[in-house]
């Protein structure tokens, strides 16, 4: 701003300083420090010794790393499409003409404010094999109980189910905001032209919320790649390691087996994967829009 005598540079620095100090201490420094650690063999007992790229090379020979990576990917592939779909459908419901829309918005969103551990313990209880609600009801109806969390085949899906319930409301809020930005007149003229509800959804709503969809997709993929808590609390990574995800392995390598360097190397690989995918999504989807 062209005010004589004002000291823009000085003020800019002064106002940014408190954040930058925190940012440097707890983001930039550990980011660099972590990269350095990843080139060291570092456990609790011995002093760290430089081993170059060995941690990274070892990773690619580690069964457990591949299986954790695959489980993470599995979780991303299961949850991303479903959560986008659920969020969008919920948003349609709460932006429609229903007299229940206020109630629906609150109820769909409310699981999101509960902490992950509460949600996970609750769903672990609902899915408990012998006395959980789901199996009790199935048995009442004459069926046999499902091994929700104790069979390798089902466990990841069960964790995903809990995740759908927990976070769909978040996507709903983003989609709702997107839908509300579409001008009413477009719909009005479509109605005049005799467009049905579904036609309106497919030809107006979906194309016009595409930037929200891209945002949701990117946020969702990142969030799903970082999955940890639900799996950790609901299955502990089991049965037989069938739900162990990458973040859990990073945590275990670092704080259970105390292989700090190895853990750091793995976290950088995850970081790299997330970055590549985010950039790819951004470039590909951003281009399509133009």
């Amino acid at each position: 701003m062209g005010i004589p005598g004002n000291k823009d540079l000085r003020d800019g620095i002064l106002f940014s300083l408190p954040f930058m100090i925190i940012f440097a201490l707890f983001m930039i420094f550990p980011l660099v420090f972590g990269l350095i650690i990843s080139f060291y063999k570092w456990d609790i007992l011995s002093s760290p010794s430089f081993i170059g790229l060995k941690n990274y090379l070892d990773l690619f020979k580690d069964e457990k790393f591949y299986s954790s990576l695959w489980h993470t990917l599995e979780f991303v592939l299961i949850t991303t499409p479903v959560l986008l779909f659920l969020g969008f459908v919920m948003a349609l419901m709460v932006t429609g003409k229903s007299p229940l829309k206020g109630l629906m918005e609150t109820v769909f969103f409310v699981p999101y404010i509960f902490s992950m551990t509460v949600v996970s313990t609750l769903w672990a209880w609902l899915m408990q094999k012998d006395f959980g609600f789901f199996n009790q009801v199935i048995k009442l109806c004459g069926g046999t109980g499902v091994s929700w969390l104790t069979s390798e085949k089902n466990a990841m899906w069960s964790v995903s189910l809990a995740t759908f319930w927990w976070t769909a409301g978040f996507n709903m809020v983003l989609f709702t905001a997107g839908i509300k930005q579409i001008s009413k007149e477009i719909y009005e003229s479509a109605v005049v032209d005799g467009a049905s509800y579904l036609q309106q959804v497919f030809h107006i709503t979906i194309p016009l919320v595409s930037s929200t969809t891209v945002l949701c997709l990117i946020l969702q993929v990142i969030a799903s790649f970082n999955v940890f808590g639900q799996v950790y609390v609901m299955t502990g990574g089991g049965p037989a390691g069938s739900t162990r995800v990458l973040v859990q392995y990073i945590y275990e390598a670092g704080f259970k087996y105390f292989k700090m360097g190895y853990s750091a190397a793995m976290s950088y690989i995850l970081f790299l994967i997330i970055m590549i995918i985010s950039v790819l999504q951004y470039v590909l989807l951003g281009k399509k829009k133009d």
């Binding site: 550990p30 012998d130 976290s267």
Partner: protein, 280 residues
């Protein structure tokens, strides 16, 4: 005649849709209801194949047990402390830089903005090993401050505040400048009061974020008296294995503060999240 049929069909369809919506709402809220119902049952009624829906002898025994035989109250206070600490510091560091990024035309502003946004991309688990070593060297393992500090700088908060501050007309600042005010007075007297809505949003989001944090407190705190509520509840599963009604009572207690918070600030929380989505 035809018109009347059409109206009836429309009315039936309307009713069916509403009934379906209501069923969906009930199903969605059900897990929470089940959490409360379980917590009011005796353990013997929970761990049995004879399924009862409502508790036959509603009891508060599990709540009493949760408060007397676990550290749950302590955990709640720890979480409250950490969340408040995080919230206060977050707004103290986020608001000034957001103002600088929105209103002060200084060299390097763009670079700074992208640096902050890049921070948003870094997954937290990349930081856990180095942060642990860092706090270890400060002798801060098991300290509540260590559990809060890495969560203080909330880049998304800067983003929300910056968007909002940009909407405050320059003319207000210019007038104040002409009257001889400096940046700090302008920030305190004009920007902060006008930005109240966005500030409330960031305060709430940072509080909830800190309250729900799990991985970091799990790592940095080993002493069970110092657990946050999220870590404490997660450990319930391990220490109270099959005492489901006790675990659910703990879960209810752990969720009450958030639920109250949500009921008071419902609109603010939802709008805050929506705000991060618009024009990302």
């Amino acid at each position: 005649m035809e018109n009347k049929d059409y109206k009836t069909i429309k009315r039936v369809r309307w009713t069916i849709t509403r009934v379906l919506e209501l069923l969906l709402v009930l199903a969605w809220i059900f897990p929470l209801v089940w959490m409360v119902i379980t917590s009011l049952k005796l353990e013997s009624e929970v761990v049995t194949r004879e399924f009862t829906f409502l508790p036959s002898n509603p009891t508060l025994a599990n709540y009493i047990k949760a408060f007397t035989s676990t550290y749950i109250l302590k955990w709640l206070l720890n979480s409250l402390y950490i969340s408040t600490f995080t919230m206060v510091l977050t707004i103290a560091v986020d608001a000034p830089i957001a103002y600088a990024l929105a209103k002060i035309h200084f060299k390097g502003r763009e670079v700074l903005f992208w640096l902050v946004m890049a921070g948003m991309m870094v997954p937290f688990q990349v930081l856990i090993v180095p942060l642990y070593q860092q706090f270890n060297s400060y002798g801060m393992i098991n300290s509540l401050a260590a559990a809060a500090l890495p969560r203080v700088a909330l880049p998304i908060g800067i983003f929300i505040l910056k968007q909002f501050f940009e909407g405050i007309p320059d003319a207000l600042e210019e007038a104040a400048f002409i009257d001889g005010a400096n940046r700090f007075t302008i920030f305190a007297r004009i920007i902060l009061p006008l930005g109240k809505a966005a500030i409330t949003t960031v305060v709430i989001l940072s509080f909830i974020n800190a309250w729900n944090d799990f991985l970091w407190p799990l790592i940095i705190i080993n002493d069970s008296v110092k657990y946050t509520i999220t870590v404490g509840i997660a450990n319930f599963q391990g220490t109270h294995g099959t005492q489901y009604s006790l675990i659910m009572a703990g879960a209810v207690v752990a969720s009450l503060p958030q639920l109250i918070f949500f009921l008071i600030f419902r609109r603010k929380i939802i709008d805050g999240i929506a705000m991060t989505g618009i024009k990302g």
